[in-house]
Point group: C2
Chain length 367, copies 2
């Protein structure tokens, strides 16, 4: 039996487990919590922390490959695993493009991919120099460790920048007039085979992805660009490329070298889900067909709020919406936490989005 | 959290677990073997035998409902559970239509559904009387306990019948000139809501279903008839109705009041799989859309053979067939054992069947 070891045991690992089961693949996760979503769903488990190299070695023991459901693992530990002969997918060098925003921006800049203007700043003077070229306000981002809006700072002026810099150096960029945010999921197998999913619009609210609308009608060259990035950095597994659309141009915002929220619509919305694709890619197996199963697919996240209780109590109400596919992650509800998502596929983009929103709202029981 | 308790822990329970997970429903199985397919996949488990009433009570403890992945549970135990207040879905009275072929034939005859001519026979004289009306050869069936060809006897003459009767009374029917075998999966919720899946052709080989081809183009009134049976017997959950097509007429052959092999195509082939539908129906939740996701869907079973080893070793070869969805059950390979299935959806019925056959053959590694 093939064993895929995954650092992390959250909802991405849980959905990988769901995809691995019918393929006869064992997913083994590294979990800090024995009640983590993937463990609760039945994935085999090594208890431990991703910051602990011994725990990572225990996870890797006897597995075919080690992969990731998040970025929060020290790059030096990944290099140590590789030196000791563990196969990582993606490699430590490729994964760093998702772990360190400055590394990613500098690397893709060298490779010629379009991105927002950026700089590394360490002092008020650095920020003021950047603002002199691009104007206020700016956005500051912690190069490492941020996600879902954490580690991102609005910088209206030099005083705000100086305060934010107390946490360490930042990547700064102008606050761009973003028209849309879009994303592409691509897959690259250990064999080098690649596949691209449809380009999707990702609707953000409170710095968190709330809706994924597929396909984005103005896809242009986003898929080709994402495939070129995957090749250039040697990605293995699935990789999400998130773009800002500014003045009609696609600017790379972020990479995730793992299954990603922007690809959740592929469960039930595409012939092969991103989770099955990830398992296939990291094992070096043939990739699956990435076509949509219907002309329009919408996914809406279910996010905990101050009024909501346990969404699993409200599943029957959500299933009353025709065509609604409910995916809960088995996480304790907390405000701002992604607890699940709903996907609806059909022929009419507005209708599937409306249905997915209604079912998600019923699960959230938003006041 | 809603808990669905299931008697049995085979592949049907495993796929119910896979469907229950994203709905936030806990599937708890009664397993004789701690390595049974559903337990290996992560379903929660009560160890015990379905013939043991105490084990059935332990399974039911605190669950919302008790349902089934097979027929091999004593009807008197089901009645005892109901007397003690356990909710069964289906009820003991409805389940008996799948457990006892004579009870089913007599019940549906009273209700006016078309079936093959049949009789209960206890002696050579009984069989000869039936043969005098319908001619030799006959087919004998054990009223209880048979499946996948077990408990079915070819009766070319009275001597063969006399030998077969040594095992007890039989249901006999003429060996009919069967043109096709077809099946319909229907669902009936505890609320009374019903839904019918497309009518499918089931291709049998060695007395076992090998292929499911959807949709069957001559569906006629099969779905209406199956829904009427579900209403008439008070089925709850999904129910498969298997028909012989003889002289263009549909004759009811068998009922299964549970998810069934003939419905496996619904995973990935229909908007809502039979397994999700079963979970929804037994909990009294709204039923899901049963439409096909493509004009043609083919499922081919993966059956162990004398030459084959472990199909999980050959998954990459099967995934080389474009569009092939592989579902393995985690069972030890043995000749004649159903180990998994492959489903392909597309626009061309012949092409999807050919692709599914090729991928299944690669998994079987048939000589």
């Amino acid at each position: 039996v093939s064993v895929v070891a995954m650092v992390g045991a959250g909802q991405l690992a849980r959905m990988c487990h769901e995809a691995a089961l019918p393929l006869g693949v064992e997913l083994r996760v590294l979990a800090a919590d024995p009640e983590a979503p993937a463990v609760a769903a039945g994935a085999s488990c090594v208890l431990g922390d991703p910051g602990d190299l011994d725990a990572l070695h225990a996870l890797a023991e006897g597995a075919d490959v080690v992969t990731f459901d998040h970025e929060q693992v020290p790059p030096e530990h990944l290099e140590a695993l590789e030196r000791s002969g563990v196969t990582l997918a993606p490699s430590a060098a490729a994964k760093l493009f998702a772990q360190d925003k400055l590394h990613m921006r500098r690397g893709l800049e060298r490779l010629g991919f379009a991105m927002p203007p950026f700089a590394e700043v360490r002092s008020r003077a650095d920020v003021e120099a950047f603002a002199a070229r691009h104007g206020w306000p700016l956005v500051g981002k912690a190069p490492r460790g941020g996600y879902d809006g954490r580690g991102v700072f609005a910088l209206p002026d030099a005083a705000a920048a100086e305060a934010a810099l107390e946490g360490g150096p930042l990547l700064v960029e102008p606050r761009l007039p973003i028209e849309t945010e879009v994303a592409v999921m691509v897959a690259r197998s250990r064999t080098g085979e690649t596949a691209a999913y449809p380009v999707v619009e990702t609707v953000q609210r409170d710095a968190m992805c709330r809706e994924i609308l597929a396909p984005w009608p103005d896809a242009g060259t986003a898929a080709e660009s994402a495939l070129a990035i995957a090749e250039a950095i040697g990605a293995v597994g699935v990789m999400a490329v998130e773009y800002f659309v500014v003045g009609g141009e696609l600017l790379v915002n972020e990479l995730a070298l793992r299954p990603h929220n922007s690809g959740h619509y592929s469960i039930g919305g595409c012939v092969t889900s991103q989770f099955e694709q990830h398992v296939r890619a990291v094992l070096g197996w043939p990739l699956g067909v990435t076509d949509l199963v219907a002309p329009a697919v919408a996914t809406v996240n279910v996010v905990g709020n101050a009024h909501g209780g346990e969404p699993s109590d409200r599943v029957p109400e959500a299933l009353g919406v025709p065509g609604a596919h409910v995916h809960l992650y088995g996480k304790a509800p907390r405000p701002g936490r992604k607890l699940g998502h709903v996907t609806v596929a059909g022929t009419d983009a507005e209708a599937v989005a409306a249905a997915a929103r209604l079912a998600a709202a019923r699960l959230e029981a938003a006041a």
